[in-house]
């Protein structure tokens, strides 16, 4: 791949991206516009995350890519192969061994450490988008810290359903200032955003926005005093493979009779637990 620069993007583009990332780190939760490039994969398939990852990678990095928590889902495989090809960097499935992790829809179960970078792929970066479709309006709302509409929406959920009916992409408030979309992670993962020692970067390619949570940032899920936020997952279940009761579980239909089982969505967490159990048994 000598025709392409290291990590695909030219250095001028990477510089533009790094400036946007630095600005995003300086203003946690604020959506920084950047001039997103066309990438060799479609918009909506992780181009924002891919551009942020490309801007962060150095040759010594070890990259992990997950989609839905799994290393072996097709799009994760595709993006990991892309970087192995255009950057020649080492890749891994082990969360603890990765220096950069690109993710779609999950935060790994293994706690992240200082020095690691977690890059989220973001479809719609604007948490207020479904309340107000106009960018000109939502930017003003953020500038004025005008989040009443969001609180009303959450209140209406409680009035109608008895609880906040948001299961994923659950909005958060960053350092008491910006309301932020954490990308479509299940709300089970929201507490992991809070005070994480890792740098968390969010890239939305089609929407031309980058935002960030620097290490040890206060991240609170929106709620009410009498209706506190609860991270939820499949009730009363443990992983059928590794037995974990503390991980996020996928429900898998196993037969035509409606039989189902629950397994860890984080495949690396699950397989390493299963392997160590086998080791213990031996």
């Amino acid at each position: 791949m000598t025709q392409y620069n290291f990590a695909y993007l030219d250095e001028a583009t990477k510089r533009m991206l790094r400036r946007a990332i630095l600005k995003a780190v300086a203003i946690p939760g604020y959506q920084v516009p950047f001039s997103s490039r066309e990438m060799p994969m479609p918009y909506g398939w992780g181009t924002g995350g891919v551009q942020v990852t490309a801007a962060c990678l150095v040759p010594e990095d070890t990259l992990k890519v997950i989609d839905q928590g799994a290393d072996d889902t097709t799009n994760a495989v595709s993006i990991r192969k892309f970087f192995a090809r255009v950057a020649g960097i080492a890749t891994t499935e082990a969360t603890a061994r990765a220096s950069v992790i690109q993710t779609r829809h999950r935060i790994p179960e293994t706690p992240l450490a200082a020095g690691q970078i977690l890059v989220f792929q973001v479809p719609i970066p604007e948490p207020l988008r479904f309340l107000e479709p106009r960018e000109t309006e939502t930017r003003t709302m953020h500038a004025l810290e005008d989040y009443g509409l969001m609180q009303v929406r959450l209140y209406e959920d409680i009035a109608r359903h008895g609880e906040i009916a948001r299961a994923y992409a659950y909005p958060v408030r960053v350092e008491g200032r910006y309301v932020m979309d954490p990308s479509p992670i299940p709300k089970f993962d929201n507490p992991k955003l809070h005070m994480s020692p890792a740098l968390q970067l969010f890239g939305a390619g089609r929407e031309c926005r980058i935002y960030a949570l620097p290490p040890f940032t206060r991240v609170e899920s929106l709620d009410f005093d009498d209706y506190p936020f609860t991270p939820s997952k499949a009730a009363g279940q443990a992983c059928a493979i590794c037995g974990a009761a503390d991980s996020y579980l996928d429900e898998v239909i196993t037969d035509d009779a409606g039989g189902r089982m629950f397994v860890c969505s984080d495949t690396e967490y699950c397989s390493s637990r299963a392997a160590s159990q086998q080791g213990d048994a031996a």
Partner: protein
């Protein structure tokens, strides 16, 4: 025992293999050459160049071949290639008035200096299938006349002499570039036109049609539609003068629209403008109508609630690479989100129907 589905990598490789085979089709049928596509599917090539924002007929033909004739996929290939090219600078403004015309018509004047030239158009063909084309055939040469056309002035310039049409403002020295800065609203007219020029033909066609049917109606006359070869030149500081470096085929459309006037401006005609790579007149006309619709606010017209007049709506949704990418991403796995929804729905139903849960 359940085993998590593995082997995404091999599945992808095998799918690519199958795709390559399907792209080639029946191997006993001769392979399609890129120059055949360039020459005989020229309008598809033009569309790929226009929406791909890259004037290169050979690459566009190659992209069409690789994309199995899927135009949006071919546009995507061109865009992804274009993004890797260095940007040297901007050309000098094109002089479309000096174009070597292959087609030029006006619906507002029966005749004008330079005349009406139909050129290679489908307009008055009867849409009857030509079964003769099923066999390989070379058409009889079309009659030719010596070209009498030198530089052909724009027809609307005659309205300008009388002050009947609003003059266009000179652009600034610095040309904004949609591909190098994120689009922010409100956008300038040059940026809007850039976005429309690479926008999806079908989307712009429907929007333009909606203005004709009354959603932001502003009746448009085709003042002039011209297709011709235009020289592209650039000023090189090292040389100290402009040099021509390319000749490209362009379709340009100027519409004449009414404007009732406002407190500060007398009644006059206004213009919608469309400019597209290649021979793409459906796109150029659509672009001109949508451009004019988007000028509603600048002209102080009190309408402005129709979709085609809404800058943020139009510009945020006209790019088919953005829209098709996002539309098709819902094919990707979403089972984590779906699982979260599943739990939520079960919980809400348990709350609403406690007896059913037992």
């Amino acid at each position: 025992m359940y085993v998590a589905v593995k082997g995404g990598e091999r599945a992808i490789e095998n799918a690519h293999g199958w795709l390559a085979e399907a792209r080639r089709g029946d191997a006993t049928v001769p392979d399609l050459a890129v120059d055949q596509i360039r020459e005989q599917l020229a309008l598809a090539v033009d569309r790929v160049m226009a929406e791909g924002s890259l004037y290169d007929p050979d690459l566009a033909a190659l992209a069409l071949k690789q994309a199995r004739g899927d135009v949006v996929e071919a546009v995507f290939l061109i865009r992804a290639f274009r993004t890797t090219l260095p940007r040297f600078g901007a050309s000098a403004p094109l002089d479309t008035g000096a174009a070597q015309i292959i087609r030029r018509i006006s619906a507002t004047y029966k005749d004008a200096p330079g005349g009406q030239v139909l050129g290679p158009t489908f307009d008055y063909t009867h849409r009857l299938l030509d079964f003769g084309l099923a066999e390989s055939a070379t058409p009889a040469p079309a009659p030719e006349a010596p070209s009498s056309l030198g530089a052909v002035p724009h027809i609307l310039s005659h309205l300008g002499e009388e002050g009947l049409i609003q003059p266009e403002r000179e652009g600034g020295a610095e040309v904004p570039d949609l591909t190098r800065a994120p689009l922010e609203f409100p956008a300038s007219r040059p940026l809007r036109l850039q976005a429309l020029a690479r926008g999806d033909e079908g989307f712009l066609l429907s929007l333009a049609y909606s203005t004709q049917r009354g959603y932001g109606r502003n009746h448009a006359f085709i003042g002039e539609l011209r297709i011709g070869h235009v020289r592209v030149s650039a000023y090189l500081p090292e040389l100290g003068f402009e040099i021509d470096f390319a000749e490209i085929l362009l379709t340009e459309c100027e519409t004449v629209n009414q404007f009732q006037g406002s407190k500060s401006e007398p009644a006059q005609f206004t213009r919608g403008y469309g400019l597209v790579f290649g021979q793409s007149e459906r796109k150029a006309i659509s672009m001109a109508l949508v451009d004019r619709a988007l000028r509603t606010r600048e002209l102080g017209e009190d309408t402005g609630s129709a979709p085609a007049q809404d800058e943020e709506f139009v510009l945020s949704h006209c790019d088919n690479i953005q829209s098709s990418g996002f539309l098709e991403h819902i094919k990707l796995p979403h089972y984590v989100d779906f699982q979260a929804e599943l739990e939520l729905i079960r919980k809400l139903r348990r709350r609403a129907m406690p007896e059913a849960a037992q």
